[in-house]
Symmetry: C2
Subunit: 332 residues, 2 copies
């Protein structure tokens, strides 16, 4: 199968109404985006490599989903509305069932978000998936409505959406480092392989959150990016954070003190969570709650931004918690 | 070296005036482009894989240049003004001299075109470079000024810029399939490793060319894309085309009939040329010449668009030329 036939068969879709904003899609040297007046284009790019970001035997439909999901998660963290994406794909060989499943998983998520494939590249090589995604952010009175990492201020609340740590639990179970009951593994694996980008929450948080980031490297590491960009510090209440793992009942039942520490580590430094971590003034907790309800996405208040630099972990009584929770770093 | 340190050291650049159009660069979940009113964003994406698009021992500075050049070439083919790009880079290891040279070559070309690195991704994996590039195209009276593949009409002239075939000569020499004198190899290798994207010509051809494409897969293959998109055919005068190879003196001296056929094959189906192939009405040859002069880029008229479908090769007397010149296809 030639490159152009591969594109035609698996990635070019029946002619249909292009979403507003896409002036020209696949098929020329460039695609053309026509942003609506008064908007900016938010752009993000993530590359997934076999053996590093996914196992060689992963279900290709899940892989198609995840490759786009991790990019949509970056749009969500900026409060951008998904518009379009490009896909560059290096494949060792063109295996038709693999391609069919991959494109099915990819387009199912793309369609759910009205996000159009507008171009890309296919080539032979070690399996590598690089997606660049484009979203729209309004500019109101000359001010971009994008949620940035740099907007957190001392005194503000820190929130995180959904639950954390299951993706890392699944990873460690699949690597043979952790024994999990089958139903729990299946549930955790869904979080690892089919993450839900929090696009609706990101949109609902425009004008509400002061700063936001998506949790891809681990809660503490990603909070560190907000603190650095915003030049402030934070305290996290671990007595609340620890139960953000969906499997908390398992840890409570199965594990003693060591288990609780492992549980906290999964939550604070798991990675691959794709939840939104954000800050907002304490005076608008109602607005945060409304954004959570409007987007049907649970959020939990886990701490507070402070003037004092650094990141402090405390227990329910406010006492410091010790422990090293290194964040995930690709070249560490 | 960690991922963030790597980005800081080699890809984050001293603060300076961001080019107009870039509202936010590297460092957040997304970059933000703010297109000028009345413009579209042209987007293209190319992935380069070791062993497929470049040799493992290529000079990393040349590789940095080429990875961006092939993307700028797509902008040129659309008549888009370079604005910004994202870079996703998978590396087996973070080798500092390699990274320093790669980023030097990359940024030298980026700076020459005022094209800002606004984001991307770095990860561990088999060497893979994926760049997505963004350019600006004006919309005048509701009409995009982008040069597309679909605008060629019967009776129009076909032009190509610069020279063709040297990149393929260099490739075959480096693969041991072709013996070249050292000075000729050096010259051809420059074309292979340091292609010049024809950005100035692309801009000058806005409002002049009816269709355009960049020659990356080979002249005939890429002309085929114009013919398909424009639903017409073409005749190419091989007596003119054959001398578009810069090394024509070598072939004339060294080779008999077989050599001349090889020479023509390099020109017509070499690939990796990154010249512009375009069409324009015969009534505006003056305007094409003016665009060529304004951009200091030579162009040669090599044929004509026709109603009859298909691609015909003729000699100086108009007689059909035989021979198979298969285009380069990554999965063929």
């Amino acid at each position: 199968m030639g490159e152009f036939e591969l594109i035609d068969r698996y990635f070019k879709r029946p002619a249909r109404q292009a979403p507003s904003g896409v002036a020209l899609g696949i098929g020329d040297d460039c695609a053309l985006l026509q942003p609506a007046p008064g908007t900016q284009i938010a752009i993000s790019c993530d590359m997934l490599v076999e053996g590093r970001h996914f196992f060689a035997d992963v279900d290709p439909a899940n892989l198609g989903h995840k490759a786009l999901a991790v990019n949509l998660s970056d749009l969500a963290a900026c409060g951008a509305k998904p518009l379009a994406f490009t896909l560059a794909l290096a494949l060792p060989q063109a295996i038709e069932p693999w391609l069919a499943a991959f494109s099915r998983g990819l387009f199912a998520l793309a369609d759910a978000h009205g996000c159009e494939l507008i171009g890309g590249d296919t080539t032979q090589g070690p399996l590598n998936i690089c997606i660049t995604v484009f979203g729209e952010v309004p500019v109101i009175d000359g001010r971009s409505q994008a949620l940035l990492r740099s907007g957190a201020r001392p005194g503000e609340d820190i929130y995180v959406s959904g639950t954390l740590g299951e993706a890392r639990m699944a990873l460690e179970a699949l690597q043979g480092k952790l024994a999990l009951p089958a139903p729990l593994l299946a549930q955790a694996r869904t979080r690892l392989e089919l993450p839900t980008p929090r696009v609706a929450l990101g949109l609902a948080l425009r004008g509400v959150a002061s700063a936001a980031i998506d949790v891809s490297d681990g809660l503490l590491g990603d909070l560190g990016h907000i603190l650095q960009a915003s030049a402030c510090g934070a305290t996290i209440d671990t007595s609340i954070a620890i139960d953000l793992i969906a499997a908390h009942a398992y840890f409570e039942k199965a594990a003693g003190q060591a288990g609780r520490e492992q549980q906290l580590a999964f939550v604070l430094a798991g990675g691959d969570d794709y939840e939104l971590l954000f800050t907002a003034p304490a005076s608008i907790r109602d607005a945060v709650e409304a954004a959570s309800r409007a987007s049907a996405t649970p959020v939990t208040r886990i701490g507070r931004i402070e003037t004092q630099p650094g990141l402090r972990l405390v227990d329910a009584s406010g006492k410091p918690v010790s422990g090293r929770f290194a964040s995930f770093d690709h070249f560490a």
